[in-house]
Structures are given as structure tokens and as C-alpha cells.
Subunit: 407 residues, 2 copies
């Protein structure tokens, strides 16, 4: 039984967080947080997944280095600058960990570091140095909200969630904060997502669970097809729930994985629905497939298509673009078997059966597609497998945000 609870990234026992304004976002108002700190009171098993972009931001290399021993105590992260592709990027990422360690009485290697923002501009490391003692002083069990806000860039809503679940007879908790918005097309890693749990689990099992869940959640989100240089999802587990240590892929492991899947799925949908400029969350449900892999590939091509996304913005039931996107996805399927419906809380409308267009009520279709959550439901009628991918519509606002993001 997975139950949503409050507390976000501090919901799990032994975790504190803070978010402050330090000045990395130079010209923003002082109330805009740009520095987040998350700390456990005990050592945590830790696992991360990262972008597969060949150009990786320096914080990713530093984090991979610090996680080589499989343990961590906390996370330091900033928004407003990606700390990528600058002469001092690596040194500055190391410095962030060092300053976090000095402010909290720990070692630099105990910290995971992440950055998000503009690529190619030198980060204001002095601001971070000044900010970290402030952040350390602000650490509290109520700090999730401030931390979630401190990693936002063009996000319009903060992404925060926590759940409780029972594992090995004990109540355990899992919470998270995340950011998404633009340059979102994760590939094995993802945007930024920081997850904390008090569940007792080995590093090996934690890493496996994160990889398995990421493949079916974060990696099924696309906002604009651009895989970022900074995508990072990390999970810290401090064991304070007191359950028997999860060491094998037993029932407890499955329970933990279910909770992790629940949290990551919710964050994925939140990231897609709050994509840059988005006016709606677009889900593509691909069913009746011969394999989950091909279902995923087909669904992802649909939600990634600029033409499908623009049609969703216009609430235009242009299903031909859906079939067209499936056609170039490189996944095998028989166009002449395909059924396509559009669905939302305003109802459901079948527009294509066995690959041919149907006459349908255009007004009804417009109403279905004018909701803030719409589903493109495709049945391949060829097998039992399925997959769901999430995206958003392509709007004037996306162009506006990205036509002048840097300056």
C-alpha cells in the first residue's frame, strides 16, 4: 500500500533540506532561491543515473567520482548556471562540495553535486561560497519546499512528492524534489531529481531499482527532444526506517521498487505537464504491441513529434500526424492494424480504425483535446505489450522562452 504524505525530500526520517538565494541567478530578485542543500543525519547508500549526452557537465563527473564508494551524506545543487563547458567547471563543481562540507562539518566526498541553467558561462562560485553557510544554517525538516524552489529554472510549478509504504513490517518513506521544463528528453539519466528514503537497502539493490524505474519513468518523458548535459537522478537511502536490510530481489525489493516507481512516475508526469511553455500534459498510451520496447519507441515518437505537439496545442484531432510519427520511429508495426483514439476527462473519440480514418464529430474532438490532460491512445492490435510516454504541447510560449533564454 503506497500512500502519499507531505514533507517532500524531508519526509524520510533523518533528512533535512534548505533552499536559499545566493546570487548565481544574478539579476533575479532576492526571493528567488538558487541554492539547495539536502543532508542526512546518517551515511546513506546512494545511486545515480546520468545523461548519456557525450557533453556532460562537470558536476556529473564529480558526482560519479564521489559515488564510487556507493555512499553519500548529502546533495548540493544550484540553478541559474549549468556549470558546463567553462575552463573552471570541474574545479568549481569540486569547490561546491568542499564549501558544503565545510558548512556542515563533513567531507567534500560525502556530497553529490548538481547544476542546472545556462551552458558555457562561468558560475559565480563566490556567491555559492557565501551562500552555503546560510543554507546549512537553514537546514530543517521543513526545508523541502525551499529546496524544490531552489532548483527551478523555467519551471512554473515545483515538483515535490513523498510516499509511505510498508516494507519488512516497518513503515518506510520515500520523498523527492525534481526540476524539468526545457532540454528535456532524458536518456538513461534525466533532468534533476533528488530522492531520499529511510528504507534500509544495499547500494547494489538501490542502484538496480533506480535503473529499472528510470527506464520506465523519466526516460519516457520528452519536452523538446533535446537531451541535456546535466540530467541527474540520485537516490539516498539512510536505513532509518528500521526494516530488515534489502539485499536481494525479494518481495521487499519489489515493494521498494513499487514506491520508487510511484514517485518517479508522478515526477515524470509533472515534468512533462510543466514542460517549457506547455498548456497541457500529453500522454501516449501504446497498447497491443508485440514488445514493450517497440511500444515505448512508438509512443515516444508520437509525444516527441513537433507536428503532433502543435496539433495538441491547437486541439486539432490531426491523427494522421500520430500515424506518421509512428511510421518514422523505426519500430515495427502494421499501419493497417492501428486504431487511434483521443481521450480526456471530456470523453473519448475514435478517429482511426485499422489504419483508415473514420468520420467523427469535430466539435466533440475539439472538446476532448481542449483539456489540460489529454491521452493519445493507440492500439496496435498485434500483441499484449504496452508502454506509456509523456510530453506536452508546442506553444508560442515555448518559442518565446527559448528565443531569448540566455540574455
Amino acid at each position: 500500500m503506497i500512500k502519499e504524505i507531505s514533507g517532500g525530500v524531508c519526509a524520510a526520517r533523518g533528512f533535512q533540506a534548505a533552499g536559499v538565494h545566493c546570487g548565481v541567478k544574478a539579476d533575479s530578485s532576492p526571493e528567488k532561491n538558487d541554492l539547495a542543500l539536502i543532508l542526512s543525519e546518517r551515511e546513506c547508500a546512494a545511486a545515480g543515473v546520468y545523461t548519456l549526452n557525450r557533453v556532460k557537465a562537470a558536476p556529473i563527473y564529480v558526482t560519479m567520482d564521489h559515488l564510487e564508494n556507493g555512499v553519500a551524506w548529502g546533495i548540493v545543487a544550484n540553478s541559474g548556471n549549468a556549470n558546463a563547458c567553462c575552463p573552471m567547471s570541474h574545479e568549481n563543481a569540486e569547490a561546491m562540495c568542499l564549501f558544503a562540507a565545510q558548512a556542515t562539518g563533513r567531507e567534500a566526498e560525502d556530497f553529490i553535486v548538481a547544476s542546472t541553467g545556462v551552458i558555457g558561462q562561468t558560475i559565480n562560485i563566490q556567491a555559492i561560497q557565501t551562500g552555503l553557510p546560510k543554507a546549512a544554517a537553514a537546514l530543517s525538516r521543513d526545508g523541502s519546499d525551499a529546496a524544490a524552489k531552489a532548483i527551478m529554472t523555467t519551471d512554473t510549478v515545483k515538483k515535490e512528492i513523498a510516499v509511505s509504504f510498508t516494507v519488512g513490517g516497518k513503515e518506510a518513506r520515500l520523498g523527492a524534489v525534481a526540476k524539468g521544463s526545457g532540454m528535456i528528453h532524458p536518456n538513461m539519466g534525466t533532468m534533476l531529481a533528488f530522492l531520499t528514503t529511510d528504507c534500509a537497502i544495499t547500494q547494489d539493490m538501490l542502484e538496480d531499482a533506480l535503473r529499472e524505474v528510470t527506464a520506465k519513468t523519466f526516460n519516457r518523458v520528452t519536452v523538446d527532444g533535446d537531451t541535456s548535459t546535466n540530467d541527474t537522478a540520485v537516490v539516498l537511502a539512510n536505513g532509518m526506517a528500521g526494516n530488515g536490510l534489502i539485499e536481494w530481489k525479494d518481495e521487499d525489493y519489489e515493494t521498494f521498487k513499487s514506491a520508487l516507481d510511484y514517485v518517479c512516475r508522478r515526477l515524470s508526469r509533472a515534468i512533462a505537464g510543466d514542460g517549457e511553455g506547455a498548456s497541457k500534459l500529453v500522454t501516449c498510451k501504446m497498447t497491443g504491441a508485440r514488445s514493450e520496447e517497440s511500444a515505448e519507441r512508438l509512443a515516444k515518437a508520437v509525444v516527441a513529434s513537433a507536428l503532433v505537439k502543435a496539433a495538441m496545442f491547437g486541439a486539432d484531432a490531426n491523427w494522421g500526424r500520430v500515424l506518421c510519427a509512428m511510421g518514422y520511429s523505426k519500430a515495427p508495426f502494421r499501419p493497417e492494424h492501428v486504431d487511434i483514439s483521443f481521450e480526456s476527462e471530456a470523453g473519448s473519440i475514435l478517429v482511426c480504425r485499422q489504419g483508415d480514418g473514420l468520420a467523427f464529430d469535430e466539435d466533440k474532438a475539439k472538446e476532448v483535446l481542449s483539456q489540460t490532460e489529454v491521452v493519445i491512445a493507440v492500439n496496435l492490435n498485434e500483441g499484449e505489450d504496452e508502454a506509456e510516454c509523456w510530453g506536452c504541447d508546442l506553444t508560442y510560449e515555448y518559442v518565446k522562452i527559448n528565443g531569448d533564454y540566455r540574455t
Copy 2:
């Protein structure tokens, strides 16, 4: 020596063309052409390349069937409807060839057929039946302009070009009309391009030349990353230039291929620059590569990136997005070797050297990027190979056009 001449698709000896309004575009004004006819007075060697989209429009299957014998006499094409994914698509594509044959005294199998427009709506075949005798009556040596206009959908300028060149001591000509605009991300085939030549060349050599040239021209264009269901490029060669038949990959073959490359490159740039909603042509020149294949993959990722395209719209020198797009292209390169410049007729500005950002004059960069043709020049500093790809910026207008294209 390749020289541009007038006459478009009728520049080569023995070709006539016409474009008329027949009513496939139902609610458009009578002056909007929607039916094109191109006819040779002699039998032509003919070759085509087509979309690799798994969902292919019916006209493509009919054309492949009619070209099995390697010869054709003419082309019939409509805009306003893709004739794809409808119960009668195949029969209607066959009917278009039959009506063209009846109107010109030829056989249905002598015709190549193509359609472009909305997917999934039944084409008005009666309008085409009524229109074809009108088109046949209008066939003339001056008909290229009307035919070019008849295949336009959201194109804002017609694409038409012709060249003359000397082969085997004879003056030969090659002309073309094409359409582009949206759903443009060709893959082995391309949008619609109809090419005619009076050069004497075997079908084998013609097909090889078309494939080789398409790979380096049409297949290096992207407008929105959506590979269409209808992409088709065909070339007809009627031999009336009187040159010795090109049967081998000799000097004459190379001469013909150069002319074909010239024409296809010009059309490719025209299609990219007139992409849906585009305000500028964006070229990515990738040099210093270890292979042409990786240079092409890198350049294509850059011009296809929604974030790069939006930055080009905003004349924002956000080179981090260029490096980021290269990073997820799956082509090998060393980020720390990369130099990036922006270039246009307003000048050139180096913004990244050896993978790190440089301080640069923002006003100058804005001026460089505010021109109607801009070049993103990337030097990988690793080898001698290079490739050039073409795209356009992402604008409000693209979203507007595609938010409500169908209705």
C-alpha cells in the same frame, strides 16, 4: 561548367508542364493551383527515391509499381490532400494515373503519381478527373511556373530551378520543381521534387546518381524532424540532348551528377529557408571531422534541435545548445577540441574555442544572427572530413501554422 537557366522543369528539351485549379483544395480560391502535370514527348529513363517512413502514402506504392520497368513519360501530382490512410487511397492513386493517361493518350503505367497535404481524408477524385483534361490542354513549354505553384501547400515561395551543362560535347539541361515547408526531415527520400533532363543516361546510372546526390542534399535538410509519409524525388531523362548515352561511372556520369547535385542542393536550401514559419535559413557546417558520416550526424542534430532553432529565431548566440545537440547526436567527437563560430553576411564571431566559452561582443553576435541566412560553423579539429546540413528557425508562426493546419 554549370550555368543557371530559366524554364524550370520544362528547361530540358521535350518536356511540357501545366498547373491548374481543380478543387482538391476545396475552399481555396480558384486561382490556387492544386493539380500539376508534367509530360515528356519521348519515353524517359526514370528513377525515384521515397520516404523511409513505415507509413507510406498510396501514391508512393503506385509509383514504385509503375517504375518497376525503369521508364516513364510523365508525372501527375496534387496538393491539398496526401491521399494516405484512407480506404480508397490506392484505388484513387491508380485512378489519377489513368485519368492522366486518358487526357494525354498514354497508358496509366507511364505515369508517376504524387500527393501532398492532409493525411487521412479521402481525396476528391472527381475534381482530379475533371481537372486532368484541363491540365492536359494547358501543357506547354512555359508551364513550369504553374506546375511549381500547383504542388505548394504551406510553402511561401515556389521552388524551381534549371541548369545547362556540357556532357559528351553536347549541351544538356536539367530542371526541377519541388515543394517543402512542413513535415520535413527526409530520410533517403524527400519532400516532393520532380526533376527532368534531356541528358541521355541509362536508368541504372540515373538511379545511382539520384541516390548519391539525395544522400548529400535532400537528406541533409530538416524543418521539424518529422519524416513525411509522402516524400518523393523523381528524375526523368529523355535523352534529347543527343549526348552519348551515359552507361558507366565515367567522366560524363560525374558531369551529370555535378549538375544534379547543384540543382538538388539549391532546392534543399530553398526548402530549408522556406520551412514552415521560418524567418531564416540556418546552415550548420561541420568541419575537421574524422568521417563525413559523423560530420553529417552532428550537423543534422544541431539544425534539428528545437532549442538551437528557437535561439536562432531570437538571434541569441546560445552556443551551449549547439554543443549539447552534438553531444546527444550519438556521433563520436571530443567536446574539448570543438570551436564554434556564428557567421553571416554581417560577419563572423568565434564564441567557443576548444570546448570552452569565450567572452564575445553580444551586440555583434546579435547582428550576425539577425540576418536571413546564418551559418553555425563548427570545427571538430580532429580530421579532414566535413558535411553541411540545412534547417530553419523555430518561430511563433510555425506553432500557428501547425496548431490548426487541418481544420
